[in-house]
Structures are given as structure tokens and as C-alpha cells.
Symmetry: C2
Subunit: 400 residues, 2 copies
Amino acid sequence: MKSKFAKRAHFVKSSETREILKITERPEVISFAGGLPAPELFPLEALKDACNAVLNEEGAASLQYSTTEGYVPLREAINRRMKTVGINAAIGNILITSGSQQAIDLTGRLFIDEGDTIICESPTYLAAINTFKSYNANFVEVAMDEDGMVMEELEEQLQEHPNTKFIYTIPDFQNPTGRTLKLERRKRMIELANQYDVLIVEDNPYGAIRFAGEELPPVKHFDTEGRVIYLSTFSKIFTPGLRLGWICADQAFIDKYVTFKQTADLHTDSFAQRITAKYMELYDMEEHINKIKAVYKERCTAMLACIEEFFPKNLSYSKPEGGLFIWVELPEDVDATHIFTECLKNNVACVPGTPFFPNGTQTNTFRLNFSNMSIEKITEGMKRMGEVLYRELEKEKALL
Amino acid sequence: MKSKFAKRAHFVKSSETREILKITERPEVISFAGGLPAPELFPLEALKDACNAVLNEEGAASLQYSTTEGYVPLREAINRRMKTVGINAAIGNILITSGSQQAIDLTGRLFIDEGDTIICESPTYLAAINTFKSYNANFVEVAMDEDGMVMEELEEQLQEHPNTKFIYTIPDFQNPTGRTLKLERRKRMIELANQYDVLIVEDNPYGAIRFAGEELPPVKHFDTEGRVIYLSTFSKIFTPGLRLGWICADQAFIDKYVTFKQTADLHTDSFAQRITAKYMELYDMEEHINKIKAVYKERCTAMLACIEEFFPKNLSYSKPEGGLFIWVELPEDVDATHIFTECLKNNVACVPGTPFFPNGTQTNTFRLNFSNMSIEKITEGMKRMGEVLYRELEKEKALL
């Protein structure tokens, strides 16, 4: 049989992180590699109530085909939550998606023509890179500092790339760096988008998980021209298994998203939508999120203390005020993939950072996840990792 | 703001049937327009048990991120069911999708390059047309008779279109016609696919809902070279709201499908997968399907009797042995869209058939759904429709 695959099948590759996750699943490995929320915080009993209430009260409608746009009470509940962070959306501005991964994918489908430029933080979210690349986008990376994407460099790149379709940004507790875009830069990003007539895709899965510092309004809050497409999800504040995300955007965009969502999967799981809406009706979701924040804060604080205590001094790292991740930068000549391999021998795992750079340039970084491990495991795992880092960084020095 | 949409956004349109469904939702309308399964047959109490059992026994794992391929016990249960119809698949041959609509979409993504030809039945499933068109495919329609796609014409088209990527077929109780591909033609289709080196995409959502005639093995059963990609779903045998479908194909294809599914939505709802697997463990799904068959048989029989009794004689219609649909062909000069409009005035609805022809050529057909209406409503609705048809067909005659 002659090969039947479409051209695009040859340049989409399996997510490297997902492959790494498989390797790190051995029970003896303490893994900081994944990006999983803490499962012990999933509200199991409350969900049981929600399932029974939906099946008792709403019956067959909860299991029937439903509208592509999504379940109205869920969209309303989303709008009520978004209002508290400064986004005033109408029901027609919301499309429920099958996880925010689908929101990313539909964004690629709706906006990217072959050769379009996407400007993003360097590094950025791996699955967004893979998805946008499957639509043949070119990536232009803009440097970050601890306050997020550097606006001067963003402007330079906008000038240099007039075929830029959108800026892709994760302003809050970014994946993979844990960094947050500071307030003035949010405003400046909007000014630049208006000036250079580009869209902003604000991917905001972590914004609600702020456990330190001051609340910042999302980039969308400053949007005056309907240029910001805001993506978010229930995965980090409720459960990821139900695959519920949403897009908040100008209605003209949402209408087009809907036509693509029809071809993609008709609509998102009706039952998942209804049990989530029911949960928000019966229980206090903010209280639940506060529990998550408290636990993640402890774990993040513990991991940062371990870096101080167990890691060599000649590396830098982010100090996140929320989210799930810490980012570590090794001396320039150190290969993080080698560190990863050595760590694995010591039964501890991280994710090497290279795949998070769309153009694959930087090789001396890795990502640590703190949300999915007890403090005891964090302490033990970081100790193991520290031993590897001391040994390998010494070797590097000896080679110089 | 300059338009930001990708080129593909300009030729994907909202599904006409979905728009029609909105019009027909007025409570006074008896609608045969949709394709909904009978909600009164959804096993609500059993699902409640399944939800509680999953949350009690499997806990947080049922709500966490999970593998792209799908929940292993569900894939095993699918394989056990498929074995009974003559498909021997291994676990690596199965990918769980977010409804079989996603299976169709991923098939487009994986196989269709701009300008590729897809050969299909004339007419065929609307949402597959829209999806494959979004990947820039050309459609070549092959005529059907009451025994499905005509093999002589299929061979002619294969000869004429060497850039054919696949044959898209719905062999059992086809949507929209309700027709079934007869046994010898299934074998012949495989021979032709082998000879002309093309794939077959067998879309089989209705095969399990046979309520009359003899069981036929799926086309996939006769596949000797791994050319048949078999798509199916729990939507018609369980519930559509949970959005659970699957792809059964050669493992080399499944591996590539997985990379695209990662970009599309990471994985299908873990909880929906587990409650469906749990339902199949705790309850007898075949017994449930038998109930569906009994009810649909009654409704189909009633609707066919109504056509005999209330419709003019100068039209033809299919006599399905399963599935959800009957297809009506009016005299050639009658415009079914006009009939639809007139029916709506009489508070009864069908779906005009034109959008089911990928190249939009035939305008004198419509589709009737019998699964979603009581016998009383079927009788009343068909009476109303018969009145419209008699009146409008008389007018046509007067014009000649």
C-alpha cells in the first residue's frame, strides 16, 4: 500500500512531554515531570451529588445531543466567575470546548493560514506549539524576564513580521516558566496589538490559582477592540478528566468557531457540562479553589526552599505566585536532557525545557511541577535531583 | 480590524441541518427532521449506578488526565462487541474519540491533502461532507440503489480518479437513505479498494440497530490488507450526550491518529469513558440494544404504513431494516425545500435532502427520522405531511 497520509501528518509529532511522562510512570520515580493537578483535591463526594441531581432532575436531556455552543447555565456560570476578574462577557461570547486544548486547536483552524507568524513567549506551552505547527505556522519567540514577555522586543518583532496573525500569551503563572506578565505590560500588549492590527490569544488556565501577590486583571480586561481571544478551562480549578474548557471572544469570532466545532465533535459532553454547572449551583467553587491554592502554595514554597537548600547556586529559577510550575535555568553549557537522564537513574524526574522553545534553541532549562506531589516526596525528590545537579555541574566545570 | 480568518474559514459553513433543527424546535411542530435517538430509552437509573460505582471504586483517577488512546477496559469492551460482528481487533487497533464526529474529523486531518478525491454514496452524511470539505477534498458521488452503492459505477469512478484517497461509506442503514449495502457488494468494495490502492472509511454508527432482515458483517470484516478504517459510536446504542466514539484501524494508522488527537483535545472525557465501561460491566448492553431495536422497529413500521396510507403514490421511499431514517424521493421537478417550508406551515418537519449531496445536484428528496417520535405523533405528523404533499404535487401537475 502506498502511503496515504496527508502532508501535515509528516510534521506533526507525538508530544515529547507525553512520551517522557510514560517513562516517568515507574512507581519508584518521584516525578515533577507532569502537569497534573492534585487528584486528592478533586471533590468526589460533591460530584456524586451533582451526578445524581442531574440524572434525577434533568433526566434524559442531560444525555441527549445538545447545542454546539454549550449548556447555557454553564456559560452563565462562567460569565459570573469571569466578571469577578474584570471580563464582562455576554452569553454569545462563550463557546464551551472539549478542554482548552480544543480551544487552542480551533483557534489554529480558524485563524492560521500556512506561513502565518505567531509571536509567543520564549519558552511557551508545548501543546500549543505542536497544534499551531500542525497548521503550518511560523513561530517568532520573544524573550521573557521575571515579569513576562519583554514589550520592547515584542514591538520589534511586530515591526519585523507584518504577517503576524496573533500574539499567543499565557500571562498568569505561565507554562512552563511560572512567570506572570506584569500590569503595565498587559496594557502595553493591547496597545501594540491595536497599533499593529494583530490578535492576542490569551491562554489562561492558571489565573485562578494565585496563591501569593496581588490579583491582576487578565489581558482581555483591557481589550477595547475585540482583539483578545481568551481561553480557559475547568481542568485546574475542578477536574481535567471531564475535558471542559471555554473560549471567550467577540461574537463574530464565536460564530465562526461554532462552525468549526461542529465539524470537530458536534458539541462537548452534555453530561460533563451539566454536572459541572450543577456542582457550581450546589457548592461553593471559590471555597474549593481556595483549598487548591492553600495546598499548592505549601508545595511551591517547599519546592523553592528545596532548591535553595539542595541545588547548586549557579542556576536561576522562577518564583511563581501561582499555577503549577517552576522553571530552572542551568549554566548555558549544561544539557538538560542529560540531566533528565541522570535524574531518572536516581529515580526522580523533571521535563527538559527544549521542546518548549518552538524553534528549539535553548537546551539548558527544565520544568518542575509542584502541584502533584506531597511535601515529603518533594523534599526527597529534590534532594535526589540536587545530588545529580551537583555531580553533573561539577563534571561540566572540570571539562572547562 | 482587517479580517483575521484563515482561508478555510471562508468555505466552512454552519451545518444547514443544525440550522433547520433550530427552526423546527417550536413545540407545536412534529419534527421528523432531527436524527436524535429516543431519549426515553436512555438507561438513567443504570447510569446513576455506574456514576456512583465509578466515583466510589475508582475515585480521583476517573477525573484525572488520562491517555490519549482511551480507557483500556472500554477499548476491551468495544473489542468484545466488535468480535461478535466479525471484527477481530487488538487493543492497539482502537482509539476512543469524542463522538464519531471527531473520528470523521481526525480522518480528514490525517489523510486529506487539498484536492484529494473522496468517493462516497450519493447522497451521504452531511456532517462528513462539511468536515471533509474543510480539508479541501473533492467529492465524487456514486449512485445508490436499494442495495447501496452501485459497484460498477464505483469502479468507473476509481478508474477516472486516480487521486482518490478513500471511499467513504455508511454500509448499514445509511444516513440519510436508510439503505444497506448488500453482502456481495461489501466483498466487491474490498476487492476494488485493493485493486485501486485506496482506503475505505467505513462509518458505522447504526449497524447495531438492525430490527429486520439478516445480520451482515461489516465491510471491515472482509479487509485483508488493513485498508478499512472503521468508525463507530455509543451515540445510537447508549447515549449521544457523552460523546463517545471510536476508530478501529491498522495500528500504524492509530499511532498517527493519536498524535492528531493530542493536538485536538488531549483525550476524551475520562469520566464518560469509565461510566460507559462500568455500565457495560454491571448491565447487559445487548439487552438494552434489543429494547431500542423493538421500539425503533415499531416506529419505522408505523411510519412506512403512514407513507402508504397518507402520501401520494408518485413518490418512492426506502424501507430500512434498521437505523433511524427513511428517505423519500419526490417526482424530479418537485423542490423539496418548498415542501419543507409548506410542511412547517402545517406544523410538521422533515429535512430537505439537497445538502446530503456533496455537489448539491438533487433537489427532490427529503429525509424522515422515526426514532425520536411516538407512534401517535408519527401518525399525526405524517397525516399533516401527506396533506401538504397531495396539495403541492397536484399544483406541480397543474403547472405541467
